[in-house]
């Protein structure tokens, strides 16, 4: 007499590969025979449903939305980290070792203009007078603005 058959052995006997002793046990043990019959029935139901039964339609679950939201959050976080790290990029060696500019170079650069027409336009006399008057702390009498030129003779 052997112990009750394990599930794995039971499956082997279904495939016709159990030993003679196991086959004999199945015939003599009502409990194992009932388990075997249950296994056969379950396999028939499983096979039938999968082979012939109506196929269920898959639909997106809330898990799917959560997955995409997680993915979007990770990508956003990665982009933010990359942006922050790019702001801390050390000054390139060429720029760091450059000689300091002179005042005239800075002046030329700041007041330089690409407007050729503006460069070609002659300086008006009124402009010169206004600058000179401003340097003296006065207001020039250009007589162009009645309100501003009220004090002019």
């Amino acid at each position: 007499m052997i112990r009750h058959l394990e599930d794995r052995t039971m499956l082997e006997t279904l495939e016709g590969r159990g030993s003679l002793r196991e086959q004999e046990h199945l015939r003599s043990c009502a409990a194992c025979a009932a388990r075997r019959a249950s296994l056969v029935r379950d396999l028939e139901v499983l096979s039938s449903v999968l082979r012939d039964g109506p196929l269920p339609r898959p639909v997106a679950s809330p898990v799917a939305a959560r997955r995409w939201m997680t993915l979007a959050a990770v990508v956003t976080a990665a982009a933010v980290v990359a942006w922050v790290l790019s702001g801390r990029t050390p000054v390139p060696e060429q720029m760091a070792s450059a000689e300091p500019l002179s005042l005239s170079q800075v002046s030329d650069a700041v007041f330089a203009t690409d407007d050729v027409e503006q460069l070609a336009e002659p300086v008006r006399a009124t402009d010169v007078a206004a600058v000179q008057a401003a340097l003296r702390g006065e207001w020039p009498c250009a007589r162009e603005d009645p309100w501003l030129d009220q004090d002019c003779d």
Partner: protein, 184 residues
């Protein structure tokens, strides 16, 4: 073009073997269902099914044994095509893994060919448990218990040892039976 000739006959297939049209008509539904079981996604299953029948058409144009077992050939090609698709579209699998079964699409009571009535709840539990199986377990269970192949044939088809097939089969059956025995 001569009327009444099948596509395969027009393509010069052996006249004494089954025509492509015959094979398509006989096996199309089975192959599509096999792909659906292995992939889960109906659209992908349809795509892969088309690929499989394109391969069948090409194979049927080449010289072949008129007594060739096209059914088994189609099953093997479908299993491998599904595996390739699963590997190449991992991102889509990631998405479709997050799908649930439409409860309304399952019939309230379905009678098996053996005459047993399987309730909607039981069907749902079976499909859910089947969806949870690992790809290899699915392949093995489907080939052994849906297609009815022997363990040796399954091992040859998927390129593993019979011991490996038995292990996968045992785990798949244990998982499915657990789901089957669950209370609703």
């Amino acid at each position: 073009m001569a009327p009444g000739l099948s596509m395969a006959q027009r393509a010069g297939v052996e006249p004494d073997g089954p025509s492509y049209d015959d094979l398509y008509r006989i096996h199309r539904a089975r192959v599509l269902r096999l792909c659906r079981l292995l992939l889960g996604d109906p659209d992908e299953a349809e795509d892969v099914g088309q690929e499989v029948f394109v391969k069948l058409f090409r194979a049927s144009q080449r010289p072949h044994d008129p007594h060739m077992a096209w059914g088994a050939w189609l099953t093997r090609v479908a299993v491998h095509a599904c595996r390739d698709r699963r590997r190449s579209r991992w991102w889509r699998r990631w998405w479709t893994a997050a799908t649930v079964l439409d409860e309304e699409s399952i019939a309230s009571g379905w009678r098996t060919p053996e005459g047993e009535v399987v309730g909607a709840d039981q069907q749902r539990r079976i499909w859910r448990a089947f969806e949870q199986l690992a790809p290899r377990q699915r392949e093995v269970f489907v080939l052994r218990h849906v297609e009815g192949w022997s363990t040796r044939e399954v091992a040859d088809a998927i390129g593993v040892e019979t011991g490996s097939v038995k292990r996968h089969l045992f785990r798949a059956i244990r998982h499915l039976r657990t789901a089957l025995g669950e209370e609703s």
